[in-house]
């Protein structure tokens, strides 16, 4: 591992301790990886058995009917996350711009602090908050309420990630553009943002990956639906919600579908996370 040279006078006891320590670190790594492998293996094995085209083309059926699927859940998640993205991206990017480009005062400090601690907000609390605000106001459960609940979680992520990425854009670029006489806002919008473009996209992917898998906020705001729903103001289904319900059911057919849905969630979230990471590494390399 390290290339540290050891002086020859190290006693056996000290060397043994060092060796034991290395082994302990390796053990930690193994312990950390075992659950990941177990989970992925189990979800893939049981999920693949349940994944067929009918998972996506059939809607939910009572357990006594064969051939049910989760079509309404996939479409519902798309609508809910779509709403959350439409709201949280502009909000998050604008906040990130503020923190990065204008962010040296006390106000910015408070905003930055808020964004950072909001990263740790329990998702059930976001659900309860939006229930009290939106569900009560509208008079029924809805995809819109669920989307707003996800926004509560995704906005801080977008804000902090955008700030990070914008900060990486070299100041020389800004100064150069300003020296050429462009107004400040144009510099930001036309020079800084495009340069950081891939990074912002990465931020969006991270936020979406988070929103995709959240069950608790959707549980309290969307009610769930056995049918496809296209009206954002009506109860809607979502994949994590459907998996949560089916997981607790007593019917093997529904439980199998739960594993299928879990696998799709896993795939979706992993693809987004890995892509985001790869894009971010490339982006950082461009910047440095």
């Amino acid at each position: 591992m390290s290339t540290m040279e050891m002086p020859r006078e190290i006693s056996t006891r000290r060397r043994t301790k060092d060796r034991a320590f290395s082994i302990a670190l390796w053990a930690c790594v193994v312990v950390a990886l075992v659950p990941l492998l177990l989970i992925v293996y189990r979800v893939v094995r049981l999920g693949l058995a349940a994944v067929s085209i009918s998972l996506f083309t059939h809607t939910a059926l009572p357990a006594s009917f064969p051939g049910g699927g989760m079509k309404q859940a996939f479409l519902g998640t798309a609508m809910i996350v779509g709403i959350a993205v439409l709201i949280s991206i502009p909000l998050g990017v604008l906040t990130g711009i503020y923190l990065s480009e204008y962010g040296s005062g006390r106000v910015a400090g408070v905003v930055r602090f808020t964004a950072e601690i909001l990263l740790s907000i329990p998702s059930i609390v976001a659900g309860a908050f939006i229930w009290a605000l939106v569900v009560v106001a509208l008079g029924n459960f809805s995809a819109l309420a669920a989307g707003i609940a996800l926004t509560v979680l995704m906005w801080p992520i977008m804000a902090r990630a955008t700030e990070e990425v914008l900060r990486l854009v070299p100041t020389e670029l800004r100064e150069g553009a300003l020296a050429l006489g462009y107004p400040r806002w144009r510099v930001i919008v036309r020079v800084v943002l495009p340069t950081a473009g891939a990074g912002v996209f990465t931020a969006i992917m991270l936020a979406v990956a988070r929103g995709l898998g959240e069950t608790a906020p959707v549980l309290l705001t969307a009610l769930g639906n056995d049918f496809v729903n296209t009206n954002p103001l009506k109860p809607t289904d979502a994949v994590p919600l459907r998996v949560y319900n089916y997981a607790q059911s007593a019917y093997p057919a529904w439980r199998a579908l739960a594993w299928g849905g879990a696998l799709m969630l896993l795939v979706g979230v992993l693809v987004l996370s890995v892509t985001a990471r790869m894009l971010s590494i490339r982006q950082q390399r461009r910047m440095r």
């Binding site: 591992m1 060092d18 670190l25 997981a247």
Partner: protein, 344 residues
Amino acid sequence: MATIGAPPEVAPATPLTRRRRFGDRAFRWTTLVVSVGLVVMLALLLWVLADGGWRAIREFGLHFVIGREWNPVAGREVYGALPFIFGTFVTAIIAMVLAMPVGVGVALFLNESGSVWIKNPLAVLVDLLAAIPSVVYGLWGLYVLVPLFDHTVQPWLSASVGKVPVIGGLFQYAGPGGDLFTAGVILAIMILPIVTAVSREVVSVVSTETREGAIALGATRYETIRLGVLPTARPGIVGAGMLGLGRALGETIAVALVVGNSTNISASLFKPGYTIPAVIANEFREATSAGLHRSALLFLALLLVVIALGMATMSRFLVRRTARLVGDDVAAQEEAASSTLGMA
């Protein structure tokens, strides 16, 4: 020097006209208003929960927090949240006890490892643990971990550690089904990535400084870390722990599926229990708004968010403190920021 290609095509520069200044001001104000909106949202959240929850706390006062009976039925309402507070902290502590050593160990490993072939894939894998949705953890926990613990681990622990006086009482096998211990283990797996990531950032900032000194003094790697890195990094590692603790306290779905949903408080960790997020998830949709049930749940939500945000604040302070101890303020802020972000 970054290569960005040709600058984008824009109109030729114009003198500092009033229109331009207006454009600048309008843009700046827009971003400012939106950003302040984030703070307003947090304030609104706290207010909405407090507004919804104050009726319950007014009715029950301190008894809400120390009472053990939770009965939501109309006409006989009693709300004592101690079982949930107890369960939340017990599962979080179990998670911390298991995740902290492993997380810091992995962080040290990642930091010490010179080989890119091991370090990068390992870091990616640990991050993947963070990406797994809670419901997937719950599903796996319910059908794999619970039976495994019920049939193998818990009976064995009960027969061995369970016989030890005093602490043995914690490990009395109580039969199959969900329990606090299983919930704690699932939580440990779930908070491991965040503990690792933050610890890693902290340790990397510290160790470059102390390493060279230690090498000069002839220390082994173990000694360097134990005597040089860890003491300086300790505030930051505690901060990593607090962030992990905050996450463990707020985790809902995975816990709801494996914790056993029982409002009894008992000594054994292998008995079913309940946590604040789990009871909110289970009871929220049936809670009446006319009685005090909904109010009680909203107050619990307020309690939960205050604790979680408090942990996050402390963590932020501690992580930055470590970096500042090392002497680099700007780097401190950046490290702290990117580490918490990496876990988003």
